[in-house]
């Protein structure tokens, strides 16, 4: 009786573990596909699109996760194949530094204008 009980517990733990693992993977899959641009569609992510290209990319994400690749490695893979454009989040480098800094410059400049108008007369 006791043996059976232990066996049952192990059995259930195994099943739950498995389904949890699958659920985690699909969550990660969705997250990654939301962060990748569908290059053949207009303004859609891979997650949103059902084009041939997007379907293949989703399949590759799934396979890579099954192989045990990390999220970062998968982004690196797509970046090496398609360039940085495929990532929705632009990295900070020489080309994009202006993009990142410009809002801050505007903010500071605007602050300066307001300051000048109200406090220095």
């Amino acid at each position: 009786m006791k043996k059976k009980f232990i066996f049952l517990i192990i059995f259930f733990i195994a099943i739950f573990n498995y389904s949890f693992a699958i659920e985690n993977n699909t969550k990660l899959e969705n997250k990654i596909s939301k962060n990748l641009r569908c290059l053949v569609c207009q303004g859609q992510s891979i997650y949103d699109s059902n084009s041939d290209f997007a379907l293949s990319v989703k399949l590759i994400i799934k396979n890579k996760l099954k192989e045990g690749k990390s999220e970062k490695e998968i982004y690196e893979f797509f970046k090496s194949k398609y360039g940085e454009w495929i990532l929705f989040d632009p990295e900070i480098n020489k080309k994009t530094i202006f993009l990142w800094i410009f809002p801050i410059i505007l903010f500071v400049f605007g602050g300066y204008l307001i300051f000048r108008k109200f406090f220095i007369k």
Binding site: F53, L55, S56, V57, L59, I60, S80, K81, G83, W85
Partner: protein, 172 residues
């Protein structure tokens, strides 16, 4: 005086923006991966006719140029470029490989039978993953590969000019 200043600054900024956008209009942003050793092409594929599993090292001979053409029987522009591919058929400078993209086998066979087979080797890409591995967007697309590196990429159907270019590149 102030009006004039505003007027000129508006015109200047309009011109500035116009030129930046105009310059970008003709920029092709085809991405060709940097030729580092990390980005060497390698993939596994299935032979279209014999169903034999091949790795890319088996048909990427070292100093020979490889041309990979992605095609499908359902793709209309592929039909348009087919006659140009046929003209590339008998050439010892390179090896022409076809990659059959998301196609039904019977349709693809029919296509080859009807229009001729320009390829030395046809690989099948049932789910489109090999094309992604190459960095392709869809069909038709053509890659010129040398020493496992992509040196030229044509997106869309080839025309006579592209063929001349391919012949010129592979002559070296």
């Amino acid at each position: 005086m102030k009006k004039k200043k505003i007027f000129f600054s508006v015109i200047l900024s309009t011109l500035f923006i116009f030129f930046i956008l105009f310059k970008g209009l003709y920029n092709q942003n085809y991405y060709i991966p940097k030729n580092t050793t990390k980005n060497l092409i390698s993939f596994k594929a299935e032979d279209f006719f014999t169903k034999e599993k091949l790795t890319s090292d088996q048909f990427f001979l070292n100093n020979k140029y490889i041309i990979i053409n992605i095609w499908a029987s359902w793709c209309i522009p592929c039909l348009k470029e087919h006659k140009y591919l046929m003209s590339l058929r008998k050439n010892n400078n390179f090896k022409l490989i076809g990659l059959n993209y998301k196609d039904k086998e019977n349709n693809a066979k029919q296509f080859i039978k009807k229009n001729g087979n320009p390829y030395e080797l046809i690989l099948s890409d049932r789910n489109g993953t090999i094309s992604i591995e190459l960095g392709a967007f869809g069909v038709p697309e053509t890659f010129v590969i040398h020493e496992k590196k992509i040196i030229k990429k044509y997106i869309g159907p080839l025309d006579q000019q592209n063929i001349f270019e391919i012949l010129r590149i592979t002559k070296k």
